[in-house]
């Protein structure tokens, strides 16, 4: 948690205008209602504007998106019992992308929703995709995980090609579509964070409630059933909740990869497979990761912004490879 706090303050201080860390910390404290008496130093009005109006909303969004994707990834990995599962395995992101691409291509905007049109539609198409995958994956009234994974892969491929098709049709908006796909948190204000927060909160509570059954899942579905776990119900609850978080994150920020896959594994390597630890730590670590990735994305090549998805992949992949090698050469978890 301390890491998160530090990251927040650091991220707020970095940017095209560099602000001293203490100043940022002072501004933040001053604005927390019950702590404002503690800090009453002086700082330029402009600094306060930058921190609160421009950077803080973005920081908040990064935290919420990062936590959502990591939690969803951990949930999917637990219930699909597949370490390669990530939030996009079941095709949710591709579904959301189709919605977004379609809107960008046709320029349709629903009256009354304005700039909310894309997120809302993307969310909707993401959920539709889940419904479709669940239908395809049902066999004899039960959800078979292998079938589910295959349906997800098929749907992902199909929807991906639909998006590519739309990209090929467009001339002017190609950039916009591709840019959306690569993920970005820029120019998204507090409302986006507020929209995603309920899904994250509900998702977190539900998943943490399922931590022990998720632990038992690791032994196998049949073993878990024999120990009294309601297997089918748990599967559906976890899948739906994780999909809601993923669809929300993607709708708001585009398809940012590597977070949902890498962060839970990182936590596993550091803290073990117990879901009671894995879930909260994944959320925290995911938030921190996303925060730093976004900070790098907007400051490294300032004033150009590198797409967030690119940064997460660039950092995530090599770091993960390093961790895997260290694990192989070192001993396993201490007994």
């Amino acid at each position: 948690m301390a890491l998160l706090l530090f990251s927040i303050v650091a991220s707020l201080s970095l940017g095209s205008v560099r602000l001293p860390l203490t100043e940022v910390w002072g501004i933040l404290i001053h604005h927390v209602p019950w702590l404002s008496g503690l800090e009453s130093g002086s700082w330029p009005e402009q600094a306060e504007q930058i921190v609160l109006k421009i950077r803080l909303p973005r920081v908040a969004l990064a935290i919420v998106v990062g936590a959502s994707l990591s939690l969803a990834g951990a949930g999917f990995q637990g219930v699909l019992r597949n370490p390669l599962a990530d939030p996009y395995t079941l095709g949710v992101a591709s579904g959301a992308a189709v919605g977004a691409a379609f809107l960008l291509l046709t320029g349709i905007q629903f009256a009354g929703m304005g700039q909310w049109t894309i997120p809302v539609v993307a969310f909707g198409t993401g959920l539709l995709t889940l419904a479709l995958v669940l239908r395809l994956g049902r066999e004899q009234g039960k959800l078979r995980m292998e079938t589910l994974l295959l349906s997800g892969v098929v749907l992902q491929a199909f929807l991906g090609s639909v998006v590519s098709f739309m990209v090929s049709l467009s001339n002017q908006v190609v950039n916009q579509i591709v840019y959306w796909l690569m993920g970005s948190l820029s120019l998204h204000g507090w409302p986006y964070t507020a929209a995603l927060l309920p899904y994250l909160a509900v998702g977190f509570v539900v998943l943490v409630g399922c931590s022990r059954p998720l632990n038992l899942f690791a032994l196998g579905e049949r073993q878990a059933a024999h120990l009294g776990v309601r297997v089918e119900r748990t599967k559906i609850v976890v899948l739906v909740v994780c999909t809601l978080m993923t669809a929300g994150a993607v709708a708001v920020a585009g398809t940012i990869g590597f977070v949902g896959l890498v962060v839970p594994h990182l936590v596993r390597l550091l803290a073990g497979p117990d879901y009671r630890l894995l879930l909260p730590l994944s959320a925290l670590l995911g938030a921190v990761y996303m925060l730093w990735a976004d900070t790098i994305a907007r400051t490294l090549l300032s004033p150009t912004e590198i797409p967030l998805g690119v940064v997460t992949a660039f950092i995530g992949a090599p770091f993960f490879a390093y961790l895997l090698r260290r694990r192989k050469s070192g001993a396993g978890r201490a007994g």
Binding site: A218, L219, L227, G228
Partner: protein, 271 residues
Amino acid sequence: MKAEQTSMLAAEGLGKRYEGTRVLDGVGFSVRKGECFGVIGPNGSGKSTLLKLLSGVETADEGTVTFAGRTLGAFGRKELARRMAVLEQETLPPVGFTVREVVEMGRYPHQNWFGEEAEDADRLIGAILDKLDLSRMAGRTLEHLSGGEKQRVALAKVMAQEPELLLLDEPTTYLDIGRQIQLMDRIREWQAEAGLTVVAVLHDLNLAALYCDRLLLLHRGRVAGIGTPAEMLAEERLAEVYGIAPIVTAHPALGVPQVLLRPGGWRGTDD
């Protein structure tokens, strides 16, 4: 005063179909408390399906299963798991949990939402680990254990569940003769100590004869006979069900029937 022999588990008229093929037909039997009841039969006779119906993971198309006086469907999943445990034939997957953590998972049916129980189970788990010689490796993760060690952990886990009825699904399939005896001996010890009832699906007829009080012979989904090993392991009966002509002889030390195979003579069983 005659001791009442209570029926722990009973089945009546069980039938099950998979995609149109009849797998079980009119299966009925009753298992007494404290008994070791074996289910034997050739491949495809429906043994695994029967076990799935008995453990509640699948529901029968016809017939009923009664456990401790109530129909199986009347039990909640956790409630059932508190009284009935299943030992599978597959070894536990190489997960990153430690031996102790896996054995603790056996307590799940007895724990509430927060993972707490009425009585602290640490002592019970410690005793089980000692008994199965697992204390030394309590902190090691499963991925670093051998197959035989993992099988002991699986047994420890079901012991931690403290069931009244134990279902065994061909648990000796992947074990060598030494480990087979070790496992069955430990289960028999457990039965003597706790009055445990055991229903074991076994493909090894000799093992079944050595450890089971009564046997159910299953043939093409139907009951071909229920009785003591001496009654069930008779040459003509085995020839009819298995399609070979084995020799049945008495065990030199224990007197129970043992089946000796001889090459040749496979007549087929027109399956």
